[in-house]
């Protein structure tokens, strides 16, 4: 490289030198107030960030029944393994502590923040500030913290003290654990000979492969034939020979509708499982639901109302499903499905097409 080029290169490098850490590059643009309002919804323990509004226990009970009880139960007691929100006070030292809003959560702000931004599960950011105040008031009532005539608002929010407000302390491992675990490690004759005291096989809760071994066990190299799809029970058919299942001549539902319906179904998927291996959950499995008598999915515990509707001859056709999905509680009063319904006729048609495509 010539001297001239060295000089030129040096000058170029100087001109384009990386900025020092504190220098600003002028990238990005100022956030607008409307944008900050839309995205910065965090509510802090001291009440910072609370929107103006209020809600009472009775309204909260109603909103909770409509939007939350499907998973958390009418009394916030939790259905199946969905979170229990009430009770549990005094259990934190028990062998099976019940950690709820009332027994564990230190700040009311956390309840408001989480409900407002992340609930209901699968339909986040659909509860208004007033509804959120009402739900939070109801949860306080469910936990015995306020009376049934209580009204919660941004004005009195910070006056509420949670039962476990003093129950947390900052990580103290550096003081309480590290000194004990920083002794020089013992290398020989560290303990008396040991015996097995517990075996995981006794619990038998690990997913297994078809041969009964723990799922994902490495196949034996010495016996696995190279033509097999190792580790897969259906591996005798090489994957490149699997044929696409021919579509029936009858065109059936519109593929675009099915695809759109699959998207709409995301609103349902938190409670209803579909597809191979699907199991009943908060709601029944919906494979083969179109054409089936209502209330007849094996092993699902239906509301009395739905069981009776089926016994009375209700069959899930395009029409009956459309009516039910538009307004569940109007169509089958006292159904335990607390979903409020799909207002758009297209959404209903699409989701029905999707359900139809699932077959039995």
């Amino acid at each position: 490289m010539s001297k001239w080029r060295d000089l030129a290169l040096g000058a170029a490098v100087a001109a384009m030198a990386l900025p020092a850490a504190a220098d600003k590059l002028g990238l990005g643009r100022p956030a607008l107030p409307e944008e900050i309002t839309a995205w910065d919804v965090a509510v802090l323990p001291d009440g910072q960030g609370l929107p103006t509004g209020s809600g009472d226990v009775t309204t909260g009970d109603e909103v909770f029944a409509e939007k939350c009880a499907m998973c958390h139960g009418d009394f916030a007691e939790g259905i199946d393994n969905w979170p229990v929100l009430a009770g549990g006070q005094g259990t934190l030292t028990n062998r099976r502590p019940v950690k709820t809003i009332g027994s564990y959560w230190p700040h009311l702000s956390t309840v408001f923040d989480y409900v407002h931004r992340s609930m209901p599960f699968g339909a986040a950011q659909t509860v208004t500030p007033d509804e959120t105040y009402a739900i939070v008031a109801f949860l306080l009532y469910s936990n015995g913290i306020v009376e049934d005539d209580f009204v919660l608002s941004n004005e009195n929010f910070t006056e509420v003290t949670m039962p476990n407000a003093g129950g947390f302390y900052a990580d103290d491992r550096p003081e309480t654990e590290y000194p004990a675990f920083r002794s020089a490690p013992c290398m020989a004759d560290c303990t008396a000979p040991v015996k097995i005291t517990k075996r995981a096989v006794d619990l038998n809760v690990t997913p297994t492969d078809p041969d009964g071994k723990p799922a994902g066990t490495l196949p034996a190299i010495a016996v696995a034939a190279a033509t097999e799809n190792a580790g897969s029970p259906s591996g005798t058919v090489p994957s490149d020979e699997v044929q696409e299942i021919a579509k029936p001549a009858d065109a059936g539902p519109d593929p675009a509708a099915i695809a759109a319906g699959e998207k709409v179904f995301k609103k349902c998927a938190a409670c209803h499982k579909v597809g191979e291996g699907a199991k009943n959950s908060v709601g029944p499995v919906l494979n083969g639901i179109v054409g089936r008598t209502a209330g007849t999915v094996d092993g699902y515990k239906y509301s009395k109302a739905m069981a009776e509707a089926g016994a009375g001859g209700l069959v899930w056709t395009d029409e009956t499903l459309d009516a039910y999905l538009e307004a569940p509680k109007a169509s089958v009063p006292k159904t335990k499905m607390s979903f409020t319904g799909l207002k758009s006729p297209e959404d209903r048609a699409d989701v029905i097409a999707y359900l139809e495509s699932l077959g039995g």
């Binding site: 590059l25 995205w39 802090l44 030292t93 290398m187 005291t197 997913p207």
Partner: protein, 423 residues
């Protein structure tokens, strides 16, 4: 073995005969003598004569089908909904230290969302001079840094607090992965907005429905936190936060917010749901530790392990595993063959990077008798990975998170391996 003749001249029969011979060998025995020449060698095989796949047969490749068992797996009974759930990295089947994105464990709180670079925005607001909005392209114009870092879920091993429960290190220690990230230091972006003197915490949120917001002290945010958009040389995968996630080296995985959409600067912790109701450590007195961010030193033997039994019989055996510490580098790993009575130093392979997975080996001549395998990590601060019982003595049995206790595998004489506890 029922079918020894379909493919070629008794290839499977030949190989199984080899395996049986191997099992019968005594430790340090002479090499196996074959009865007949191996047809895989003496006969021209199709792949040695015919064409393989052309280029572009698969524009973006998946592992060869013989490796189809090496996948993430979940334990269905753990959670009520697959959208707010977790699965596990097949660490028993991986080697080295880098985890491929495609089988690195997933934890979503409201499902893995599809967010394009075009639709991506990052806001920095709160106690800053100028609240800013960045597009994805803006982020690519800041000077970049890279870091290899492990991400461990705070609940990794949580099911084992009460006792040995799941069979296989994929399930007991598989809520972990280790990738090479490229992105922009968070401090660079914070400097661009100008943190006000009273700002002492940041709060990071995702764009998904859960938002999974987490607070951290400004000191950490200004130290080694990255706003990352590449992992292992390629764009983040959707399930790992495409297009942008937070990388918080050494600290619990829940803080590595995916689909990062907002950084708020505050004068206090937000104490969100994920840092009060969850990811806190309930202690025996009924109070709970919060802000337990650092993942302490830990290790596990990945092979042999319940999903990676010894099939070759006695003789040379490679014992290998992973060690890591959220407090820095791994200094030493010890392995015990007798349940913690005696220990020997394992060999650390390659450079032990801070807050990253480190691979260790112990190469032994196995005599074919039972073993109670354990590994013990020691980090550069001198912290020695404790036994599960030592942790229980301090934290009781109601804890869920931050279980970094020593794992025991019982290797039986037949080479099968079980998850056990010893005393």
């Amino acid at each position: 073995m029922t079918d020894a003749s379909k493919k070629g001249p008794s290839r499977r029969g030949f190989l199984s005969g080899m395996a049986a011979g191997g099992a019968a060998m005594a430790a340090g025995a002479v090499r196996a003598q074959t009865q007949a020449p191996d047809p895989l060698i003496t006969e021209v095989q199709p792949w040695a004569s015919e064409f393989g796949d052309p280029v572009d047969a698969v524009p973006y490749g998946m592992p060869i089908r013989f490796e189809s068992h090496v996948v993430r797996r979940n334990v269905e009974w753990l959670t009520e909904s697959a959208e707010s759930s977790i699965n596990f990295t097949p660490i028993h089947a991986l080697e080295g230290t880098i985890t491929p994105q495609g089988c690195a464990f997933e934890r979503h709180h409201s499902g893995a969302i599809e967010l394009s670079k075009q639709d991506y925005r990052l806001m920095i607001d709160g106690l800053v001079e100028t609240p800013l909005v960045f597009t994805y392209e803006d982020l690519t114009r800041f000077p970049r840094k890279s870091a290899v870092a492990f991400l461990e879920c705070a609940a990794n091993g949580g099911m084992e607090w009460g006792g040995a429960q799941l069979e296989g290190c994929q399930f007991t220690q598989g809520m972990i992965h280790n990738m090479e990230y490229v992105g922009v230091p968070l401090r660079t972006l914070l400097a661009e907005a100008g943190v006000k003197p009273e700002g002492s915490w940041i709060y990071a949120e995702g764009a998904d429905a859960s938002s999974n917001g987490r607070s951290m002290p400004l000191d950490k945010a200004m130290d080694d936190v990255l706003v990352a958009f590449f992992a292992n040389g390629e764009a983040l995968r959707k399930e790992h936060g495409y297009p942008v996630r937070l990388v918080v080296p050494g600290w619990e995985g829940n803080m590595w917010v995916k689909w990062l959409r907002r950084i708020g600067v505050y004068d206090q912790a937000v104490d969100s749901r994920e840092e009060t109701s969850k990811y806190t450590d309930l202690m025996p007195d009924g109070r709970a530790r919060k802000w337990t961010w650092v993942m302490d030193a830990k290790s596990v033997i990945t092979s042999p392990s319940p999903q990676a039994p010894i099939r070759h019989g006695a003789g040379p055996l490679v014992i290998t595993g992973l060690a890591w510490s959220g407090n820095g580098r791994i200094a030493e790993v010890d392995v015990s063959l007798d349940g913690g009575v005696n220990w020997q130093k394992a060999r650390i392979e390659g450079e032990a990077k801070p807050k990253a997975l480190t691979r260790f080996y112990l190469d032994i001549d196995w005599d074919g008798s039972e073993m109670l395998l354990q590994s013990r990590a020691i980090d550069e601060t001198g912290y020695v990975q404790p036994t599960k019982d030592a942790l229980r003595a301090i934290r009781g049995l109601n804890n869920v998170y931050h279980n970094n206790g020593i794992q025991t595998w019982w290797v039986r004489a037949d080479g099968e391996v079980e998850n056990v506890e010893v005393a």
